[in-house]
């Protein structure tokens, strides 16, 4: 079996490779999403901590 035959998937290339491509996209999105979420949560908590510190200093 050569590579062009492999990518051709017996004429079903579009259906097979679209499926695998979508799976890859969904897996990557599932990895990236919690990493971004974590950054956002930490940023938000840090902001609150800083604000509270400023309020304490003003008193």
């Amino acid at each position: 079996m050569n590579w062009s035959e492999f990518f051709n998937m017996g004429g079903y290339a579009f259906y097979v490779w679209s499926s695998y491509a979508l799976a890859l996209v969904i897996i990557l999105a599932n990895i990236v999403s919690p990493l971004m979420q974590r950054k956002k949560v930490i940023k938000r908590i840090k902001r609150t901590l800083k604000r509270e510190q400023l309020e304490r200093e003003q008193l």
């Binding site: 259906y15 097979v16 499926s19 897996i27 901590l49």
Partner: protein
């Protein structure tokens, strides 16, 4: 016993304990997934009826199985959260919803891409397809309820009840191919007699299913850690932890 559960289900304990778990789960998901892909794309023989198009199975079936499995995890942890008020269980449920929704979506779209060359249509309103679509809507409904209610405890209760009621859909999905005359093919693996599938196709399928499960475990732990940080944002352990970051 109860004290033990309380201590080990504390978000703080979970947060530190989950680090090595995530590492090993993600590594094994990657290795098993790559090996499964290799076997599925290069070693598994061509199907005598469907040609090469059947190779969609190695994505489609694991995604569909996981969409059911994740739903059960979500419903059971919602139940544990509601009955025993274990906060970590509510966090696991909330963390599972978007992952399960993505698996349900993947199962529907890959099924559609497989249906077109085999049945001649991207979509038919057949019992299996329709009940899987309802599963996706249940996930989306859970997520909408979670974000619509500000009070966290009420949000967990409302969305948790939706998840539990929606469990009725799970056997409907599973048995739909037996109860109704569907275009969708019947079970090939989860039959009581020997699976009607060539062993060289079955092994990569089971490996991919295992890889998907390990992947879910990795991601749900990552998301639950975020939930723990966010929900405990006013507690001392989170404040001390974030100050050091």
């Amino acid at each position: 016993m109860w004290n033990w559960i309380q201590r080990f289900s504390s978000p703080k304990h979970f947060y530190s304990m989950s680090v090595p778990l995530i590492k090993w789960l993600s590594i094994s998901a990657l290795l098993i997934g790559l090996y499964g892909l290799y076997l599925g794309l290069f070693v598994a023989p061509t199907d005598y009826q469907q040609g090469e198009s059947y190779r969609i199975i190695f994505i489609h079936v694991p995604a569909a199985w996981m969409s059911l499995f994740v739903y059960m995890v979500m419903a059971i942890s919602s139940g544990i959260g509601i009955i025993w008020q274990i906060r970590l269980a509510d966090m696991v449920a909330a963390a599972s919803a978007p992952i399960g929704a993505s698996f349900a979506f993947l199962a529907l779209v890959t099924g559609s891409l497989w249906g077109k060359p085999m049945w001649g249509a991207y979509w038919v309103w057949d019992a299996r397809l329709t009940s899987e679509l309802i599963l996706l809507f249940l996930y989306l409904g859970y997520m909408a309820l979670q974000s619509a209610i500000d009070d966290q405890r009420s949000a967990d209760k409302a969305s948790g009840l939706l998840a539990i009621v929606g469990v009725v859909n799970i056997p409907i999905i599973h048995y739909s191919v037996e109860w109704w005359n569907t275009l969708h093919q019947g079970a090939t693996v989860t039959k009581f007699d020997t699976p009607s599938m060539h062993i060289d196709m079955l092994i990569p399928l089971l490996l991919m299913a295992l890889a998907f499960k390990l992947f879910y475990a990795t991601i749900v732990l990552m998301r639950t850690r975020n939930e723990a940080l966010y929900r405990d944002r006013n507690r001392r352990w989170v404040r001390e932890l974030v100050e050091k970051l």
